[in-house]
Amino acid sequence: MSKLDSKVPKGPLADKWTNHKNNIDLVNPANKRNIDIIVVGTGLAGGSAAASLAELGYNVKAFAYQDSPRRAHSIAAQGGINAAKNYQGDGDSNFRLFYDTIKGGDYRSREANVHRLAEVSGNIIDQCVAQGVPFARDYGGLLDNRSFGGVLVSRTFYAKGQTGQQLLLGAYSAMNRQIARGKIAMYNRHEMLDVVKIDGKARGIIARNLETGEIEKHSAHAVVIATGGYGNVYFLSTNAMGSNATAAWKIHKKGAYFANPCYTQIHPTCIPRSGDYQSKLTLMSESLRNDGRIWVPKKMDDVMAIREGKLKPTEIVEEDRDYYLERRYPAFGNLVPRDVASRAAKERCDAGYGVNETGEAVYLDFKSAIDRYGREQALITKGDKNPSDKLILELGEALIKAKYGNLFQMYEKIVDQDPYKTPMMIYPATHYTMGGVWVDYNLQTTVEGLYCIGEANFSDHGANRLGASALMQGLADGYFVLPYTIGNYLAKEIRTGEIPTDGPEFLQAEKEVKEKIDFFIGNKGTRSVDYFHKKLGKIMWEKVGMARNTKGLEEAIAEIKAVREDFWKNVKVPGTKDEFNQELEKAGRVADFLELGELFAKDALLRNESCGGHFREEHITDDGEAKREDKDYAYVAAWEYKGEPSEAILHKEELEFNDVELKTRSYK
């Protein structure tokens, strides 16, 4: 096994980034004009990187599969973005944000990267405000903060429940400015289908124009992948329908190692599945757990009566309810981190206590909060110490509406039940993938000139991501890290000159892409792409989902392989290749998920411990909690592609912890 070089700079943790920046080679402005960079994906990471690189003077070509960069799925992030500004004076600091992130990630992330993330976090807020992002403010006109799960300070900046949207529109506006100046060439409705390597370096991509079907060759001196996570390997997730792993997987096949695929975040508060036609799952912000209490009935008779529609949840008395998070985790109660809350819901539903027809739902109840707020408000606004039930309800509901109105409305639109009157039903769903393309401290993959940023890389969240940290990482990578670190590589490229796209490497890559498309169109099989995607998703969810064991994982590996073989024999793609063809787009993406899924299961099988989002049933403490095995597994598992996923070779990057002590996470 080779030793991966993370290229973490020497010196004390807090000085590494500053020292590193001081020693990065610079490219003079005249030379920057002659250097091209391709950025694939234009969400928070890709959009901010494209804008920043263009501002520096490089020629950027940016690619998005949607019809505008403004539609990338970063836009759906609700809650907020963390930054160690300490505006609330509650003792926050770069070190605390660093520490919380390392701990929240269950000690499976790289110290130096996480500390750098904390260091640049404050600047992100400065930058976004300068761009006109309308963050929430208090009456003094200063920025407001809220608190999020798993931490003890208020460091989350937000813009109502649409923080991701506003940050993305900020990056989008910065891109637009550069598009207008001609420094970014924007390719909307384009999908990258392969990377082109020349003499071991990434030199361009093959992309399909999704409107016309034309296959295009684009060259550059460096290629940046910012295409998000692979949560749609589960078919059902909170990701957008088009979110896919194709760019990340294609570069993996061309030599970029893929790290920790088994680290996936299952978010506890999503709206449950309602039927087989379900196409995606909708997240309800984690902030709801501040006021909602999670429960299932204690008695199986009540569960059955509820499922048959003979009993309403509001009719079940307090003594017959099992507030299982409060019971199991008295210290954190309903505010335990996401992975813990998700597993606890699954435990109850597996035991048969799920409260909807599918048996996969628990209640999130605001009755106590409405009551508590109603009494408080009656006293504050009316001086009423003995308010009537009617007044309590009225005032309590009004306050809940002010806090969560848009979420309650969203829930009602989807489920057709009024969550003010009856508890919400929720169930965990795949939300984020911590694993991804392996990168060094400079965000470069194991292929020279090929970089990977944002959710697509593996670097900062370890085995579990804290709320409001995805937006932070995407923008940190794109605005403040990559634009510096890429300089070291590009400084050596100033004499390269323009890269032609008619060399043998480009032609070969183009040929392979075209052959695959011809195969899909010509296969004339019997089953639609979705049929296979749903099959894969079911295996992943049942056997590589919230809780995993050796037997299930071994079965999953065999079953995914079988689905993949079936796919290549029997997939049916209607239409032609020279037109707008959404089934053809999906076919290519699902083909890649069918390989990634197997590697995912293999990685999960190898990791004989429970950590963060990866829970192995064989590795639990006496009271059923996750048990890490630091002696054997404090490493990053980086996989090298060798053909079939079963043949992938493992490379280990041992994680060193010099500034924090490894502890067992406890929320009891």
Binding site: S173, A240, D530
Partner: protein, 246 residues
């Protein structure tokens, strides 16, 4: 429930296109409108027909990709929703549903229900930004206090998802709600003042170049806007435009 769908089918930009009728059965009220189209498409694929092309992505009402004109309304009969948030419980057994693309000369059809909204992109590129570099040397975020009311109003304007429902709805194919929302967002913030004049002049100029019509205060755009963007933003834009033109 059982329904009859009449859907606009158009092979490509040059094709004339027309309505095609599809019966569909066993539709649950809990399905979203797009999931109903998924079911139809699966049936079409299995029969050997071509599925209906339609834009969609996040399916939670925020990306602005979905763009169907349903029974004569952008995003269909419900209020404050995008097509992906529209649920089939809004319809009755036996209903006939007409589904068309968002129509405007400035939104040419690419295929079936998919339209080209790149005109919106060009308007944003004409001035929908604040010219500040991402150097990391900007001043501290709290050094620019902004009154809560202004910040909240700017946020309300900024929630536009760029779907184009306003244009599809407007009898004049006007994009003024879309453009007004961006102009208003920046005009309410101190950061936006420096370039205020150029911004509004350039964005309006591009809007006209793209062939969008003018506002005649019908207010249909505000009604159909899935995010409830207020007509007030058009008034703000007009004020800014006048100030910049004097």
């Amino acid at each position: 429930m059982d329904l009859t769908l009449k859907i606009w089918r158009q092979k490509g930009p040059e094709d004339k296109g027309g309505m095609v009728t599809y019966p569909i059965s066993n539709i649950s009220g809990h399905m979203s409108f797009l999931e109903m189209i998924d079911v139809l498409n699966e049936e079409l694929i299995n029969k050997g027909d071509e599925p209906v092309a339609f834009d969609h992505d996040c399916r939670e009402g925020i990306c602005g990709m979905c763009s169907m004109y349903i029974n004569g309304e952008a995003h269909g009969p419900d209020r404050g929703v995008t097509t992906c948030q529209l649920h089939m419980r809004m319809f009755k057994d036996g209903d006939t549903i007409h589904i068309e693309p968002f129509r405007s000369d400035s939104f040419p059809v690419i295929k079936d229900l998919v339209v080209d909204r790149s005109s919106f992109e060009r308007i944003q590129q004409a001035g929908g930004f604040i010219s500040v570099n991402t150097s990391g040397n900007t001043q501290d975020a709290n050094s620019i206090p902004i009154g809560k009311e202004d910040a909240d109003n700017a946020m309300d304007a900024a929630t536009c998802i760029g779907c184009g429902a306003c244009v599809a709805t407007c009898k004049n194919s006007s994009a003024m709600l879309f453009v007004g929302a961006k102009v208003a967002q920046y005009s309410l913030l101190p950061q936006g003042q420096v370039e205020a004049k150029d911004r509004v002049l350039n964005m309006v100029k591009q809007m006209d170049l793209e062939g969008f019509g003018n506002c005649t205060n019908t207010g249909a755009c505000e009604v159909e806007c899935p995010k409830g963007i207020s007509l007030k933003n058009i008034a703000i834009m007009n004020t800014e435009y006048l100030k910049a033109s004097i």
